[in-house]
Symmetry: C2
Subunit: 329 residues, 2 copies
């Protein structure tokens, strides 16, 4: 199974998730879970887990890494289901969110159950691993980390000034943390040395930062049809994205400064102000600055990986990292 194409990993994830939940009852609980987990997505987390495992392993660890990665994918989707309730988001990847299609109670409870299922799958996939305890520990740290990251995100929506340090701390928890545990758990499954674990973890942290800033950028530069979310949604919701935090650092004068103050004071802007905001971010080089930050984190990620011996899996990790910079959805 060494050297499997990332598309093949994705297909195996889809199949595993579909089969695993196919027969589960009651329907009121598992129909929403099946709906969420057949909604597509890049499956970046299981792909990363499998490739991390294969980049260090000399034996076949594909099945175990695939299942562990699928468990992290479910953990990720659990956070999306609950975050969408908190953020009152009606759409996700172009489809109705669970609380919108069903109701809040169903979304809360289905999310909780997804977390239980994720642990269940992870336990089954790694019970015989030498690093079983470390794997469960890493997964649990991931769960707590994303919750703390979401709490900071909500805190920051309510506060006016958010420094770049605080922003970076938030995305390290909210976005990078789950990619980090993919790399770490994959490395454990692959029997990595502590140095290998460390470089894979740093690779994933930097990919995570690049990924989130790209997400922040796409909110205003993307195409709604490809991005799966309305453009400018973060602006409307008053999210303290990289763009907003950087613009506040620049502290523009005149009408630009007023627009930014309005965003902070009113905790977001009406949709009609989005083109003005985009124009302002463009003129003050904030969009280019974001692109530079993405490139820097991506370059750092690649640098960490240079320590690992060359392999097809390592090359695919580098390809994924390179692909995230140019992605449009």
């Amino acid at each position: 199974m060494h050297g499997i194409a990332t598309d093949a990993i994705r297909n195996d994830v889809e199949k595993f998730l579909c089969d695993y939940f196919a027969q589960m009852q009651p329907a009121s609980l598992y129909d929403p879970i099946r709906y969420v987990l057949t909604g597509g997505g890049k499956r970046l987390r299981p792909v990363l887990t499998v490739l991390a495992a294969e980049s260090v392993s000399k034996t076949d660890v594909y099945e175990s890494a695939l299942r562990a990665g699928s468990a992290i994918e479910i953990l990720h989707n659990f956070t999306l289901v609950h975050d969408d309730i908190m953020d009152k988001s009606d759409l996700r990847r172009g489809r109705q969110t669970v609380h919108n299609r069903w109701n809040d109670a169903t979304a809360i409870l289905s999310g909780d159950t997804m977390l239980g299922a994720a642990y269940q799958i992870l336990l089954g996939a790694t019970a015989n691993s030498h690093d079983f305890g470390n794997i469960i520990q890493s997964f649990t740290a991931g769960l707590i980390g994303v919750c703390e990251g979401q709490a900071l995100d909500l805190d920051y929506q309510r506060s006016s000034a958010v420094s770049m340090d605080k922003y970076m701390r938030m995305i390290e928890l909210k976005t990078a943390k789950l990619l980090e545990i993919c790399a770490e758990i994959g490395a454990f499954i692959g029997g990595a040395s502590s140095e290998q674990i460390s470089v894979l973890r740093e690779f994933a942290r930097n990919v995570g930062a690049a990924f989130q800033i790209q997400d922040d950028l796409l909110d205003i530069t993307g195409e709604a049809a490809e991005f799966g979310k309305p453009i400018g949604n973060d602006i409307i919701e008053g999210k303290k994205t990289y763009l907003i935090v950087r613009a506040a650092e620049i502290a523009p004068k005149g009408s630009d400064g007023e627009l930014l103050r309005k965003f902070f004071n009113e905790r977001g802007l009406p949709a009609i102000d989005i083109p003005r905001m985009k124009d302002m971010l463009q003129r003050h080089d904030v969009l280019n600055d974001a692109r530079s930050a993405i490139e820097k984190f991506s370059a750092d990620a690649a640098m960490y990986l240079s320590v690992l011996p060359d392999s097809p899996a390592k090359q695919k990790l580098l390809d994924i990292n390179a692909g995230l910079i140019v992605r449009r959805s």
Copy 2:
């Protein structure tokens, strides 16, 4: 530490929970958790975990069982925080619920974090146990079980006819399951034989059934001040409690039958109808029938325990079982 009083176990649980979360940040996330976990309660789950461990162990397993039991107590409180959102309950143990005191988003996210913390504590408490994998597996089965039980509870609120079989299946998951994992995890920590694990599990399942039917009964026979919830709340919410399911089996005629049909058709009754409902349940011997069921489950629980050698811990388990029958809150 063998033979410690249950009050002392309770005190140690309070102290552990208080200390564990004392310094955690951000406050927006951990203040609600500290609020929930300092809200008292019987701490039945950690007490049961410690006593199960001590009833089979020849060595000192107190600290490990206390922490594992505290993890289950947190899991239990996580379900309460989320259930209270779903049930739109404003009060719990006489205090404001989290979503009422803060908001839904805070209650969802704090609940999620409690679950992460529960796993974290369980991992720390049992990582060196011979049965570590089984313990994490049992805990995860408990999480999934209570979610499925809550889903059935919500399903049944929307459906008219619920059989006694379905009711029993629901309370086995929603209430008994967590007591079962207390006994099971305590037994694992104590190094129990498979027969001992089995009888402790059956003891807890029967205690759980007795406990839930007593809870259903107290909803209508209790005193609000002691019970911590408004009396007749289950009737108002249209819950399919033991009393309702049993009354439907009896199928009373005339105005009694009409009252019951009104309950089913309108998915609950207004508060003004509670005295009539109580009177009806009294006259048709439903309240006495519930008392008999509680006694039967409690007697079965005691019977299972007779297999274990006598010990102070076993005696305290029997005392708890006996105490649940006569409890008023």
